[in-house]
Amino acid sequence: MKKPDEAKYVAQAALAGDREAFSHLVEAYQSPIRRFLFHLTADEELSKDLAQETFLKAWLHIASFRAAARFSTWLYRIAYNVFYDHARGAKTTDTLAEAHENRLPADTPDGDLSLDFAQALSILKDDERTAMLLFYMEDQPVARIAAILNCPQGTVKSHLHRGREKLAGWFNDDKR
């Protein structure tokens, strides 16, 4: 979606409550948001529910979106918070890493997420997995990841460093 179109749809959705305008935004961002949440949860149905919750929250709070930020960054931030809230709830009975691992091999979008990749992601802590996915898969720069995770850039770099080391170790050990 072109930037002027995006700004127009955001303004129409925020000021006039235009659902049609908002549907253009959902259509444009459903794929990256669902992909991001799917790789965080390794559960297609759950990621669909969390993505829907993300867009519902975006709809309700779109008036608080500031044009200085990118809409995609704002949306990823909501998605991360939705995931984090869910993960916190899930941790009362299970750690998320365990939950992530237990769900493997889950149904996957288009059935093409390899078990190896999902298992490799499961060895990472939540913040490491989030930072790695945003950086390597969603092509987000460190500054924006820091805004999404609401932490300093140095912390993001640490997550990325540890994530790289863990994944490199995992793959180099010939998948354990």
Binding site: G17, V26, S31, H39, L133, Y136
Partner: protein
């Protein structure tokens, strides 16, 4: 494993997720959104605007006050209370009417 190989693993697993009705279902599930401002704020603005305009109309012609306001701004002087009241009254009224129109369009 180097940076390039690591990036390739992620890139290889980066797939477009097909919509399959997700957008339609999500948009149809959107709740009614509360108004940007509570209605009492609109009411308060209208009351303030009407009070300002009443104050002005009962003391001096509005056109004269607007002329004085423009004149004092042009001369970088402090405008009179009357002309400020006209200005505030008109702006507030326009804001309240504009906001009500946006709200009506949303409803």
């Amino acid at each position: 494993m180097n940076e390039k190989e690591l990036r390739k693993i992620f890139t290889d697993h980066k797939k477009e997720v097909s919509d399959d009705g997700f957008t339609r279902r999500t948009v149809s599930a959107l709740p009614e959104r509360p108004a940007l401002l509570p209605r009492w704020v609109t009411g308060l603005c209208v009351a303030a605007a009407l009070a300002s305009l009443w104050f002005v109309f009962t003391t001096a012609p509005v056109t004269e006050q607007l002329r004085l306001l423009v004149d004092s701004i042009a001369r970088l002087k402090m405008p009179s209370t009357f002309s400020v009241a006209v200005y505030v009254g008109i702006l507030t009224l326009l804001g309240a009417v504009g906001y009500s129109l946006v709200e009506a369009a949303t409803d």
